[in-house]
Amino acid sequence: MSATTQPIKPKIDRSQIMEALIPVLAVITALIAGAIIIMVSQLISANLATGFKGVSSASTKTPWQTLISAYVGLFQGAFGSPRAISETLIATTPYILTGLAVAVGFRGGLFNIGAEGQYYVGSICAVFVGYSFKGLPPFLHITLSMLAGIVGGGLFAAIPGYLKARFGTHEVINTIMLNYIGVKTIDWLVRGPLRDPKASLDQTYYILDSAKLPKLLPWTDLRVHIGIVIALVMVFVINWLLFKTTLGYELRTVGSNPSVARYAGMSVARNFVVTMIISGGLAGMAGAVQQLGMNYTLKAVFATGYGFDSIAVALLAKSNPFGIIPAALLWGALRNGASLMQVRSNMSIDLINIVQALVIMFVAADQMIRWLYHIKTARDTKVVFTRGWGGG
């Protein structure tokens, strides 16, 4: 052949860098939009207050001052002191693990909305092992309790995985339904068979000291525990699993295109189940870490929302394991900083939820961000809608 071979050199497009910037810009935009909402809400309530003369105790601050005190409060509440940082890290830990859970699902082509239920199942399994196995050395007891959480969450998630693989029923429906089943069943367990009769609230027995996760800084009174280290290690493990093993290769291939996977001789059905087990195992691990490291017991109706927020975390991270860390930290900081923000600015905590919702909105609808900041859609980027929503 006389055709010349082109030189082979790697090339990083400017557009690829911009692509990676989109989540960051989405967060910034959401904070700006949140600021506008705060200002508007302050103006409205100020006007309402002047309507009732003499009762203008509501605020003596201008909207600007309120805005600044709100965001400064949010930041200080999240990072302003060692205690604040410690609490933020505690809040971040389950977000990392559940975020990883949902991200693994996305990579494997499955939309696991059931992280909430898997989190609970993991929690109860871990707590049960944590209080009922007496006389074990701490290392063994912690390991067993963690494993119980992982296995519990994994098996619980295997149900929708198997149903999809065997009957083709959609995992979104099944994981949503199993959330109810899981949460309600555990609620019953905690109020009934597993209830600590001596406790004033509906909750299980406290786990034994040998099952408690050690504190990260035992010489201080900070509550941060080694759960954050476990979560960070899991980021590396999942990254390795996804990108350095045949299992991850199969999982990603099935997730990208099940037809190609079949062509290459992979079992699509088996991979669906495996993906759900890994995903559920991570969510269960999140529950285990939270109960063994923080709560030491499982309370009834203790809705955390971790399982649902994790979808947002995974979206923000674009299902990249390392992207999960900043995304989870953001969520942890928002969650932890919210209370000081509320105290300082005298505003509703719902505003934090609005800012979170805005972040999700801007990340999910990244065309808006592209339009705002004039970022062109990368060439050859195929728009892929979440597969399988309409019987596809």
């Binding site: 082979i8 790697p10 090339k11 045949t246 199969e250 062509y263 060439r379 980027t381």
Partner: protein, 513 residues
């Protein structure tokens, strides 16, 4: 003659690529002007600029002598440009009329509601009937798109453009999906369009058709116009050479086959579709080492299902298949692959590659779990994966900036080379190549044909399935014709004629003497 459209000095740059370099292109009224070029030559970019999908960096567009600024397809349509895409933009569950009026709906009564008023499909239906008669585009306005054959769907696309009063019609690879009969019908339609003063831009890389239909030919290469020609002064050879930029060999040079032992033996194979209808009905054939068995046939006569059955992708209802004597009926694709079968799938986007994977990852799709890519079947050695990619990219001339480039960023020809490279890089005994060059440019076709013959000469048994008669005839040593799920005739390649095969493909069997 007057100019309907003129594009002057069109330049378009993408990061690292000059896609269009000062292109001049014009179109006379009532003319069919073919735009010829390999994949990546800049045809699509040029047409996307014309259709408002891209903005040119430099250059001007004139329509009927007036300069035109096109910001969006909407502008283009309003100015009288109509485009028929290669992949039709139709809603399958809607009728022909509904599809045609989509976006330009007329309403009657309740006028105050504006576009929200009552949909007036009757007027539209009448107008569609008129257009059909006027241009010989017979189609039932009330038929559902999903029930129409591909050729009919294309007519709907053309009517859709005419309904929007298109004066210039852009057809992107219009014949790629049509049967020979449908192609002839399309050509008739195009002539009746040009008779009425409509101008047509015909984008293709099929040389025969260009010579048959066009009034003028413009050839693009690497984003530049390399020549303009009249069909009567050109031959397939001259066009191919100017497209590729060097001499090309249109016929495949090969020595006569030296077939040895039987590799694939298929006995009474039957495949049923999900409704229980047989798509392959009791087919028997064999392929020997060192020969190419070509399966000819109009698309949809069971070839797809046959290949899927052979590669373990669909269930065999009855019958047997043997690979080197081993029964592999319903063995599953993993086992089939491990027995030494390479498969170039018909639909490379659906089956052949993962869009979001790098070239390196795509190249190990069938062997990722084996040494050297994985020593223990679990941990992958990414260095080995990269090494493999570097070797194959060079060996198979895959044009890419890097082995980490995503598969979706490659041109069609390079994607197919990637598939071929992957399949040929394993030790194989049987090659099943399904439409291996569909939609590819001349250079890539030549390359892939050469590689297939190379495999044959190394003793691989080759089963070639193609709807292109030329491809079948130039590559095969024996030709089997498939019709309605059965192989109705198998002949030696030297005994086959175009006409004879054409009749067989239509199901007409000559009495053997």
């Amino acid at each position: 003659m007057t100019l309907a459209l003129q594009m002057k000095g069109i330049t378009k740059r993408f990061p690292g690529v000059l896609a269009n370099d000062k292109i001049d292109f014009d179109l006379e009224k009532g003319e069919i002007h073919a735009l010829l070029g390999e994949n990546g030559a800049g045809k699509t970019t040029l047409m996307n600029i014309l259709y408002g999908l891209y903005r040119p960096d430099e250059g001007h567009i004139f329509l009927d002598g007036k300069e035109l600024i096109i910001h969006s397809p909407h502008d283009a349509i309003r100015s009288g440009l109509g485009m028929v895409h290669q992949h039709f933009m139709l809603v399958p569950v809607m009728t022909v009329t509904e599809n045609i009026v989509l976006g330009v709906e007329q309403t009657d009564r309740l006028k105050f509601l504006g576009r929200l008023g009552h949909l007036d499909l009757n007027t539209a239906r009448e107008k569609i009937r008129d257009l059909s008669h006027q241009y010989g585009l017979d189609v039932d306005p009330d038929a559902y798109i999903k029930d129409l054959p591909v050729g009919m769907q294309q007519r709907v696309e053309i009517i859709k453009a005419l309904y929007r009063q298109a004066k210039v019609l852009i057809l992107d690879e219009p014949t790629a999906v049509l049967t020979p009969q449908e192609i002839e019908d399309l050509f008739k339609v195009l002539h009746s369009l040009t008779d009425k003063g409509i101008s047509v831009i015909f984008i293709t890389h099929k040389l025969k058709e260009v010579l048959a239909i066009s009034d003028r030919i413009t050839v693009l290469r690497n984003g530049k116009v390399v020549g303009s020609a009249k069909p009567e002064e050109s031959t397939e050879f001259t066009l191919a050479c100017s497209m590729v930029g060097r001499d090309v060999i249109l016929t495949v040079e090969k020595e006569s086959a030296k077939p040895k032992e039987v590799i694939l033996d298929v006995k009474d194979l039957r495949v049923d579709d999900h409704r229980g209808q047989s798509t392959v009905c009791g087919t028997s054939f064999f392929v020997r080492s060192g020969e190419v068995l070509g399966i000819a046939g109009v698309q949809g006569n069971g070839q797809t299902e046959l290949v899927e059955a052979l590669t373990g992708l669909c269930h065999v209802a009855s019958g047997k298949m043997f690979l080197q004597g081993n029964d592999v009926t319903n063995a599953g694709s993993r086992q089939v692959i491990q027995t030494g079968v390479a498969h170039i799938p018909e639909d490379r986007h659906e089956y052949g590659m993962v869009f979001g994977y790098s070239i390196a990852d795509n190249l190990v799709l069938c062997s990722y779990y084996q040494p050297p890519f994985s020593q223990n079947g679990f941990v992958m050695d990414n260095n080995a994966v990269d090494e493999n990619a570097r070797k194959l990219v060079k060996e198979y001339d895959i044009r890419t900036p890097s082995i980490y480039t995503l598969g979706q960023s490659l041109s069609g020809g390079n994607q197919q080379k990637m598939v071929v490279a992957r399949e040929f890089s394993r030790p194989i005994r049987l090659l099943i190549a399904s439409q291996p060059t569909r939609g590819l440019d001349v250079g890539s076709i030549e390359f892939i044909h050469k590689r297939i013959i190379e495999q044959r000469d190394h003793g691989v048994a080759v089963l070639l399935v193609s709807a292109e008669l030329d491809e079948i005839m130039s590559l095969s040593d024996r030709i089997a014709v498939m019709y309605r799920g059965q192989i109705i005739e198998t002949l030696d390649a030297q005994d086959a004629t175009r006409e004879g095969l054409g009749l067989l493909m239509a199901g007409i069997r000559k009495e053997k003497v």
